[in-house]
């Protein structure tokens, strides 16, 4: 991070990571309120898996275990992944995803600082491709649910995939608004009538938009603390809004409005917590602008034309691939050199 004057000590990795975790707390609180306490189980599982996998891999790679574990970066990855998964994801799904993120995306590339891809998004993409059926089924928010599940019911469901009484799994899950919108559009329905469905809220998903709002809040805290620079979130949100506005202006009945795209899926999580990963993102300020704009446009295009409902993960991974090129092309000229 280019901050001057260099008077104060630069914050250590663990301070940064701790503040990132802190910034996620409002989002998690909203999440628990909307979808129930099941997410806490996922978070715990992901954290434990991440720390174990990290420790084992560090040991195998003959690196010091303790200092690397204490930098908390594995926990951030674990939390981001757990928050991106469906709230009642089965236990093994969380473990497999976290394992992928830590072992394959992070440690095999050389650990923190060397991973070209965002580990949480690699874990997410691997799960989405492998288990699309589970990954695209979200439980209805508690306030919409026909059978609101208690925390114990959720806990039971996560570990045994069974529900109390004769409730069917299909009865508590539904498609996400992004998914629903896409399938209904394919049936030639119009956006205005589709969004009348109960799963839609004022902006995005009913209930889900509150969580999204809480992520925004946490993001603002990170900005205020100067943990992240404004370039990435602002440009990402602006580019997503611009492209969705352009499509919306041409054919409002066939494309959702910009606000819906900003408040749906993983947009806010992506803006403040995912693309702001300093390792897999570009380093130059101009590069950050290109990177974030690219993620915004790709996210929109994958959402509208891709095979899977949300496009954030694939957009981030695709742009991660471009980072070396972006960095090379946006190197500021050293004074006196051509």
């Amino acid at each position: 991070m280019n901050r001057s004057p260099y008077i104060t000590d630069a914050p250590t990795v663990s301070t940064i990571m701790f503040k990132v975790l802190l910034a996620l707390v409002p989002g998690i609180a909203a999440y628990v309120w909307i979808y129930g306490g099941g997410i806490l189980v996922s978070l715990t599982l992901a954290t434990l898996t991440a720390l174990t996998a990290e420790a084992v891999l560090l040991k195998i790679r003959q690196r010091p275990v303790k200092p690397y574990l204490m930098d908390m970066s594995a926990v951030v990855t674990a939390w981001l992944l757990a928050l991106a998964l469906p709230p009642l994801a089965p236990w093994w799904l969380v473990i497999v995803g976290t394992f992928f993120a830590i072992v394959i995306a992070k440690q095999l590339y050389g650990g923190l600082g060397y991973n070209p891809f965002n580990p949480a998004m690699v874990g997410y993409a691997a799960l989405l491709i492998s288990f699309p059926l589970i990954m695209t089924k979200w439980p209805a928010p508690l306030l919409l649910a026909e059978h609101p599940l208690s925390f114990m019911d959720q806990l039971h469901f996560i570990f045994s995939h069974s529900l109390p009484g004769d409730i069917k799994v299909d009865a508590i899950t539904s498609a996400t608004p992004l998914d629903y919108l896409k399938t209904q559009l394919m049936l030639k329905h119009e956006v205005s009538s589709i969004t009348q469905a109960p799963i839609f809220g004022a902006f995005g998903a009913k209930g889900g938009e509150l969580v999204t709002g809480a992520y925004l809040l946490g993001g603002l805290y990170l900005l205020q603390q100067r943990i992240i620079s404004w370039h990435l979130p602002t440009v990402f949100l602006a580019s997503l809004a611009t492209i969705s506005l352009a499509f919306y202006a041409i054919e409002p009945n066939h494309f959702a409005n910009p606000l819906f795209h900003l408040m749906s899926g993983a947009s806010m999580l992506c803006a403040f917590f995912i693309i702001t990963d300093p390792v897999s993102g570009p380093t130059t300020p101009r590069g950050k602008v290109y990177f974030a704009a690219g993620v915004g446009v790709l996210t929109y295009l994958i959402r509208v034309y891709g095979g899977y409902p949300d496009g954030v993960a694939f957009a981030v991974l695709l742009m991660n691939m471009c980072v070396p090129l972006i960095d090379a092309l946006t190197q500021p000229r050293v004074f006196g050199h051509k």
Binding site: V96, I104, A126, I129, S130, F131, P132
Partner: protein
């Protein structure tokens, strides 16, 4: 004399393995290996083509003027591949359907021409045939192993599709797990890259352990270069 054959064999199967050392012919390696049976079948077809190509080029190597050696070699290889393609189509039709375009594509697998050009064009028949077959077998091993890993992780099956080659009598040798979700990623294209990378890593690890063992007395100057 025996030493030459032994060396050729070790070269093909391990030292210069096509799949994990030379990394030649990756197109079929990555595309076909969704199951062990697919991988081994294509590997075997490649091995046969390579043995036959080496065997037919070696005796005539002095008759072919160097200007046209590449067209002639390609002609020989293309002929042999087409023969194998038609034979598989006739006698293992289901397998032919699965492997599809990848059998004719053996023609453009650079490893075939590479061995003809670098070995058969300079050596006598018997070592040439063995070299072609062993190089092909090395590839077959990698394809089979990669296919086995991918189908086990991805679908929870072992030797699925064996009945395509040997008919329904082979069914008892197939194993299908019933209660397994299947990590679909493994059978999709990314699984091929991850699987191949793991195989390369394992081979390098074994190799570096072997060299470390044989060089315990000699000081290692720059151990990090071994990676």
């Amino acid at each position: 004399m025996n030493n030459i054959y032994k060396e050729i064999t070790i070269n093909g199967l391990w030292k210069q393995n096509t799949g994990v050392v030379q990394l030649l012919g990756l197109c079929p390696t990555l595309a076909v290996t969704t199951s062990a049976v697919n991988g081994i079948s294509l590997g075997l077809a490649t091995a046969l083509v390579m043995a036959a190509a080496n065997g037919s080029v070696s005796p005539v190597r002095k008759l072919v003027p160097s200007e046209i050696r590449v067209p002639v070699f390609i002609l020989v290889i293309a002929t042999l591949v087409t023969v194998i393609d038609m034979s598989i189509n006739a006698f293992a039709h289901q397998l032919h359907k699965v492997l599809g375009i990848f059998i004719p594509l053996i023609v453009v697998n650079c490893i075939v021409l590479a061995r003809v050009e670098s070995f058969a064009a300079k050596n006598t028949s018997l070592p040439s045939i063995l070299d072609g077959f062993m190089m092909g077998s090395g590839l077959m091993l990698v394809l089979g192993l990669l296919g086995a890993i991918r189908e086990l992780v991805g679908k929870g099956t072992i030797l699925s599709g064996l009945d395509l080659v040997f008919g329904s009598s082979a069914t008892p040798f197939m194993w299908v797990s019933t209660d397994y979700h299947g990590l679909l990623l493994a059978v999709l294209p990314p699984g091929a890259f991850l699987g191949l990378a793991s195989l390369i890593a394992i081979r390098n690890w074994i190799e570096s352990r072997n060299t470390a063992k044989s060089k315990t007395i000699a000081p290692v100057l720059n151990p990090s270069l071994n990676h």
